[in-house]
């Protein structure tokens, strides 16, 4: 049989039911195989006129046109859509060419590396597979992190062992005292013995107190440092993430996660570990003591331990689940607060405060209920365990008492035994109860490590070279991109921008103008094709360096809470006051800044809300100017400002673009007329390119857009391009 040069997977059969299917393309035919590898369809190549991919919401079809009509050859859900898209051009070649070179290129598969462990496709090319992260790996990550503290940990371990040993002594000393008193020997011997023993007991108590103090001190220092490092790593990890990470998530939750989850871990590291080890150790030591005092009775009291262990084990997953859902609802509450505060203007404007309150109350009460139900579980556990232990103590007094009466045991031994028994059940009880705590901690740790270990999506090549002087030549080679798999935004963009050229980018809203820019800034990587800067692939340039060379003024200008000077100097914090003023002058911002009482030291407020839209925009321009980048990207604001401000911004832009490669998403006629070249985007495709006059004379899309705009407003200065869409 001929070898297949391409295999495409599908997962739906004709009856719209899940079934693994595949299409094999060989040199002379295509075959469709079912799950067991049986051939269910067979079309010779000469009968195929073309093969189309029909995309639906959530999946698609491959359809072959034949002389007898269209034949569906494969049906699949979203997971196979991308590989079909990528294969399509080669399939088309196969159909159209008589002698198709059937080189078995595996690039379709190789692009998605699979994990050696679970065999699933890995999301990122680097690092380990995120999918087969096991429970234990959380524990091992925690342990790995603790390694940095090994010195303090060892000190801690020694102290814990000492504390446990010391705490074991008192009952034994008391046994000597009781035995000494109850044994009828010469009075003088007993009282000196009593003095010695009481003194020893007091000494032990003092030692115990001292040890506890040192223990607490060490624990807090370990926990505190651990907390600091975890928070730092988590924030660093967030900063490292690519845009898509934030697109797909509710971001407010991270505020809480960075605080609460790390706090939980801190508590555990500072108190939990100490408790856990000391309780375990004491349980073991006490058990030894019990055996030493009377092994038969000890065996008897061990009987209830296995069922107790089993009980905790059974409860474990339940508790895990409860903690998870509690966490879930707490995140929900947080997100709600975050969202409400961000949208407070809209909430007020629509007077939706009460609805928001209601929504919040609902989420909050759910959170409270879940918290209560976890606490309830332990409220129930504690008395039951205590009762259980008390009953055993009673039993021991009975059994031991009889032994004393029979002369098989001294009163002191019995008293020591009973005390040790209570001490033994202490840790057991604690360990059983800590199941809940450990679960909470593991959950927190897991979520922290999830953030820390999620690899950034947009990564630089390992051999990424430093960027020398940038000329500003930009080339897009057949670039295709979509934010989500099911919606392509850009299709086959081919574009060359010469150094120093000023490009005006226009098109109806949703045409992909901003997306084109996002790709150049490498907020995302293209799904297809590549972008070159000075002939170098963007991924071979370190992102930091790339962005240092690109100045961006977004339509939505975000200012950080700080002074105007700080905001202008954001990209270049070392800038001298003089440079900042120079930049502000270029951006025509200097004059309005001078009118402010605090000048450049005026606080802009969160997000710059104390400034007007036009002012914010000029500060953003100044910010880009100060960076002095060889490439400048401007997204002209669509919102109208007064004519004077408008002119000021316009003039600023004119000054700024001198000597730089500039891409302007243009909304104003003046910008369009000034650009060296205009690029018209429509439906994610580059449809026209040329100067203002050329395009106008051509009478195509550009003419239509411009004409509609002017017709609508009757004014030539302002083109509200967003409203002209179609």
């Amino acid at each position: 049989m001929e070898e297949a040069w391409l295999t495409l997977q599908g997962d739906l059969n004709r009856n719209m039911q899940f079934e693994q299917l595949q299409v094999l393309f060989t040199a002379s035919k295509l075959l469709v195989l079912d799950r067991e590898g049986r051939q269910i369809l067979h079309i010779p190549k000469q009968n195929v006129e073309n093969i189309r991919l029909i995309e639906a919401l959530g999946g698609g079809y491959l359809v072959a046109s034949t002389a007898k009509g269209p034949v569906e050859i494969l049906r699949f859900t979203e997971m196979h859509l991308d590989s079909c898209r990528k294969a399509l051009s080669r399939v088309e070649q196969w159909v159209s060419k008589d002698s198709f070179t059937t080189d078995k290129r595996n690039d379709l598969k190789d692009r998605n590396k699979t994990c050696a462990h679970c065999g699933r496709v890995m999301r990122s090319a680097k690092d380990s597979c995120m999918r087969c992260n096991r429970k234990w790996s959380t524990v091992s990550h925690l342990l790995q992190r603790s390694r940095a503290y090994s010195a303090s940990m060892i000190v801690m371990g020694i102290i814990v062992i000492l504390t446990v040993l010391v705490s074991l002594a008192p009952p034994y000393i008391i046994k000597w005292i009781i035995d000494g008193i109850s044994a009828p020997v010469g009075m003088g011997g007993v009282s000196s013995h009593l003095l010695w023993m009481s003194g020893l007991l007091a000494g032990i108590y003092i030692l115990q107190a001292l040890l506890q103090m040192i223990e607490g001190y060490t624990a807090i220092s370990i926990g505190g440092r651990f907390l600091g490092e975890l928070r730092r790593d988590m924030f660093h990890a967030l900063m490292k993430q690519s845009m898509r990470f934030f697109d797909n998530r509710q971001v407010s939750q991270y505020i809480g996660r960075i605080n609460q989850d790390t706090d939980t871990i801190k508590d555990f590291m500072s108190q939990g570990i100490v408790h856990l080890t000391s309780q375990l150790l004491s349980a073991l030591f006490i058990l030894g003591m019990l055996f030493y005092l009377d092994w038969r009775m000890t065996l008897m009291i061990l009987i209830p331990l296995p069922p107790l262990g089993l009980f905790v084990m059974r409860l474990w997953p339940k508790v895990r689940e409860m903690w998870y859902s509690q966490w879930q609802s707490s995140i929900h509450v947080q997100n709600m607060v975050g969202e409400a505060l961000q949208g407070i203007r809209i909430i007020k404007a629509f007077s939706k405060e009460n609805d928001e309150k209601e929504r919040f109350d609902k989420a909050n009460s759910r959170f409270v209920n879940r918290m209560i139900s976890i606490q309830n579980l332990w409220m129930f556990m504690t008395p039951v365990l205590t009762l259980f232990i008390s009953l055993f103590v009673a039993l021991i007094w009975f059994a031991g008492g009889r032994k004393v009466l029979e002369g098989g045991m001294t009163v002191g031994t019995l008293s020591a035994y009973a005390t040790y028994l209570i001490m033994f059940f202490g840790p057991v009880k604690w360990l059983a109860q800590s199941a809940s705590w450990i679960n909470e901690v593991l959950g927190s740790a897991e979520r922290i490590f999830e953030v820390i270990h999620t690899p950034a999506e947009v990564t630089d090549d390992e051999e990424a070279q430093p960027l020398s002087k940038v000329r500003g030549e930009i080339r897009y080679n057949h670039v295709g991109f979509g934010y989500a798999k099911d919606r392509r935004i850009l299709h086959g963009i081919d574009l060359h921008i010469a150094p120093g050229e000023m490009i005006g980018l226009i098109g109806p809203s949703g045409a992909g103008k901003s997306t084109l820019i996002h790709l150049l800034c490498r907020f995302y990587d293209p799904d297809e094709g590549e972008i070159l800067l000075d002939g170098r692939r963007l991924s071979s340039i370190r992102q930091e360096e790339l962005r240092k060379n690109i100045g961006v003024v977004f339509q939505e200008t975000f200012l950080f809470d700080g002074t105007i000077a700080q905001n202008i100097a954001y990209g270049n914090p070392e800038a001298e006051a003089q440079d900042i003023i120079q930049a502000a002058m270029t951006a025509n911002a200097h004059d309005f800044i001078c009118r402010l009482p605090h000048g450049y030291e005026t606080k802009v407020g969160e997000r710059g809300h104390r400034l007007s839209g036009g002012e914010r925009q000029r500060i953003a321009i100044a910010r880009a100017v100060l960076l002095d980048p060889p490439i400048l990207i401007l997204d002209e604001a669509t919102s109208s400002v007064d004519v004077e401000t408008e002119a000021a911004i316009q003039e600023a832009m004119d000054k700024v673009i001198q000597g730089r490669t500039t891409i302007v998403i243009a909304h104003r006629l003046s910008t369009l007329q000034r650009a060296d070249r205009l690029l018209v985007l429509e439906g994610g495709r580059l449809v026209e390119s040329g100067s203002h006059e050329e395009l106008l004379n051509r009478g195509g899309v550009y003419h239509r857009l411009l004409h509609a705009a002017q017709g609508a407003s009757g004014r030539e200065v302002w083109i509200p391009m967003q409203e002209v869409a179609r």
């Binding site: 639906a56 919401l57 959530g58 859900t77 979203e78 999918r131 895990r320 879930q328 179609r726």
Partner: protein
């Protein structure tokens, strides 16, 4: 259009999951709306069938009808469900990031392979609801 028969049209569900049989936009190949079908029941039986058939091809979102199991494994949730497309097992990341709430009772679950599943809580059986309530 204007009494003339129009060929080459396509249908768009404006609410693909919550209202699969209502508010269907009928559009020409050049993306112009020529009619908005408020409800499929407006049409005669044979047209209804034709529309349904077409929509079934354009919207491939399996509906979860029963949840057999949801298990957590590390950072993932393993789902074993019965859907309108048959049995399937899939994985999701954190539920709160991968379950979209469309209404009080309709949800979209996105798995790690980018597939989407619709879920209507009221159509689940009791056991499935128990699983669901633990997750959401």
């Amino acid at each position: 259009m204007n009494g003339e028969p129009v060929s080459d049209i396509y249908l768009v569900l404006t609410f693909p999951v919550t209202e699969p049989e209502r508010y269907i936009s009928v559009r020409t190949a050049s993306h112009q709306e020529i009619h908005l079908i408020h409800s499929l029941s407006e049409l005669d039986i044979s047209s209804q069938a034709a529309v349904r058939e077409d929509l079934e091809r354009r919207y491939m979102i399996p509906k979860v009808v029963a949840i057999k199991m949801i298990k957590r494994q590390g950072n993932h949730w393993l789902w074993d469900v019965e859907t309108s497309y048959g049995k399937v097992a899939f994985r999701t990341n954190q539920p709160q990031e991968n379950i979209d709430i469309l209404s009080n009772e309709t949800y979209i679950i996105r798995d790690t392979d980018g597939r989407r599943f619709a879920l209507h809580v009221s159509r689940l059986d009791k056991r499935s609801k128990l699983f669901w309530n633990k997750i959401i």
